[in-house]
């Protein structure tokens, strides 16, 4: 046994739809209590991966363990230990927020109190509003509430903020942070980089059915070299280095010794965005 408990373990996961290979050997682990992001463009295989973990789809190959259970043969009790937020956000339009949570909470052995859930997802003023009258952001918060009301250990969030305006996204992020602070393990899929960066303990970048990078958000921007740019004799010079301090020191010492100015001197780290684009668009280059 490892020191840190593993909530989800995926090894060599493959899945094809006819000729199309949606997943070509995906492996990752999610530790208990972590927020783990699957980041990638549309069609990369994020939803396929999540729906295999949720037990909606069957895999072609590889092994999957979710809370120690293979979703393919999971008993119904296992469903009480996971919470699912689907992309679609469909719910009964004619029930109120409170009634929806009470209805779904009743499916579980040990549900969280409805009023507490309403507080966690920030819908206190809307508790007795009919679902039909909620805004997109409020619906999504109720969605989180429905995933949380059974008090699961692990929550799947499939593109929870797609199509949101910035304010609604920030609201959703706050809710996700509060789920995390309750000690829930969270698997989040997103194609928004800032979302992964803001919320996750670990990020895996998925591209065309393969994981092309994995690590802490900071690690992903660590590996590529720092860029040092300046202008010399009218020409742009770019130096990339893993040891920017030493290189910069040498460059500036030499310039000082010659009595020159390094025009337009600039030292910068690639943003996660640039790393992400480089990872997901290699073919386009």
């Amino acid at each position: 046994m490892t020191a840190v408990a593993v909530a989800v373990a995926v090894e060599g996961l493959t899945k094809s739809y006819g000729e199309h290979e949606a997943l070509r050997g995906v492996s990752f682990e999610i530790r208990e209590g972590d927020v783990f992001s699957l980041l990638g463009p549309n069609g990369a295989g994020k939803t396929t991966t999540v729906e295999i973990l949720e037990g909606y789809r069957r895999r072609d190959g590889g092994s999957v363990s979710v809370l120690g259970v293979d979703p393919v043969s999971a008993p119904r009790e296992w469903r009480g230990r996971i919470g699912v937020v689907l992309q679609s956000s469909a719910m009964y339009e004619t029930l109120t927020v409170r009634e929806s949570l009470a209805l779904f909470g009743g499916y579980y052995e040990h549900p969280r109190p409805v009023d507490e859930v309403i507080g966690v997802v920030g819908l206190l003023e809307k508790a007795d509003a009919v679902v039909r009258k909620l805004s997109g952001g409020q619906r999504r918060r109720l969605d989180f509430g429905l995933a949380l009301v059974g008090d699961p250990e692990l929550i799947f969030l499939d593109e929870p903020t797609t199509g949101f305006d910035p304010a609604a996204r920030r609201g959703a992020w706050e809710t996700i942070r509060s789920l995390r602070s309750l000690g829930k393990t969270i698997l989040l899929t997103t194609h928004y980089l800032d979302e992964a960066e803001q919320l996750s303990d670990r990020v895996a970048v998925l591209r065309e059915g393969l994981i092309v990078a994995e690590g802490r958000p900071a690690d992903l921007t660590q590996s590529p070299a720092t860029e040092i740019r300046y202008r010399l004799n009218g020409e742009d010079v770019v130096v990339r280095s893993e040891e920017p301090t030493r290189v910069l020191h040498e460059l500036t010492s030499a310039a000082l010794a010659r009595g020159e100015e390094l025009e337009r001197l600039e030292v910068r780290r690639p943003t996660l965005e640039e790393v992400y684009l480089a990872l997901t668009q290699e073919d386009a280059r």
Binding site: E77, S88, T94, G150
Partner: protein
């Protein structure tokens, strides 16, 4: 059982809140009954007062609009919008969900039938049925069979947009051809040939025999068998192909 009771309360609440279901299940059959009853309620059809004859047929229309069409449409909408998929992600056993949906539908049909009979008595002085036990059994048989057909039908339709159109295109002509609104004896030969294979024809034959002629349900094994066979076919289709997920995605 606790889960079933919990879900049944939820389904009844959803039923009461739905304007579409309220209209199709309650108002439309009652409105049609009043309209048609006003038109030929005083005629004599096959030796019976028109409104009395009509009432027995309208119980047949009620069963297809509630248990068959209404059920199929709202289950298709729930499936295609993703609500059924969400339910599937919870520990609620699938049987408890389906059983609660069916039970809520049957209760709605029972209320609809009581309202129909009360309206017939109040407006058209139709005598109350005297074979109560047989009538209840008949309506129960019809509700179960047509609900099974409704669930079976959902497996043949792929989109929520097409749901209403497809379901209406089946149940409205069927109600007409099976003689829910008129006596089928005046129909041309080809319509009667179609009527002869439709389950609603046999269900209405049962309600008329029980309500008009004072027969007991069990004296009509042939008609019972046809209704039950259609119901069984629907149940088999539903059991084999019922889906909880939208057609796409």
């Amino acid at each position: 059982m606790r889960l079933f009771a919990h879900e049944l309360r939820g389904q009844l609440r959803l039923y009461v809140r739905s304007k579409e279901l309220a209209f199709f299940t309650f108002l439309l059959p009652l409105i049609l009954f009043v309209l048609l009853g006003s038109v030929y309620g005083h005629d004599r059809i096959e030796g019976y007062k028109g409104s009395r004859y009509l009432e027995a047929g309208m119980l047949g229309y009620g069963v297809v609009s509630t248990a068959f069409a209404g059920l199929a449409i709202f289950m298709l909408i729930r499936r295609e919008s993703g609500i059924l998929k969400r339910v599937r992600a919870t520990p609620l056993p699938p049987w408890a969900y389906i059983a609660a949906v069916l039970a809520a539908t049957m209760l709605a049909y029972a209320l609809n039938s009581v309202a129909m009979i009360a309206l017939g008595r109040a407006l058209f002085s139709v005598p109350l049925p005297d074979r109560i036990f047989s009538l209840v059994l008949t309506l129960l048989l019809g509700a179960v069979a047509f609900a099974a057909m409704g669930l079976g039908l959902t497996t043949l339709i792929r989109s929520a947009e097409g749901a209403s159109a497809a379901v209406n295109a089946i149940y409205l002509p069927m109600s007409f051809i099976s003689g829910a609104f008129f006596s089928p004896h005046s129909f041309p030969q080809f319509l009667r040939a179609i009527a002869d294979v439709l389950p609603l024809t046999y269900f209405i034959r049962l309600t008329r025999d029980v309500m008009l002629r004072g027969d007991q349900l069990w004296n009509e094994p042939g008609a019972i068998a046809v209704v039950a066979a259609w119901g069984l076919a629907g149940a088999i289709l539903a059991a084999r192909n019922f889906r909880w997920e939208p057609a796409e995605g």
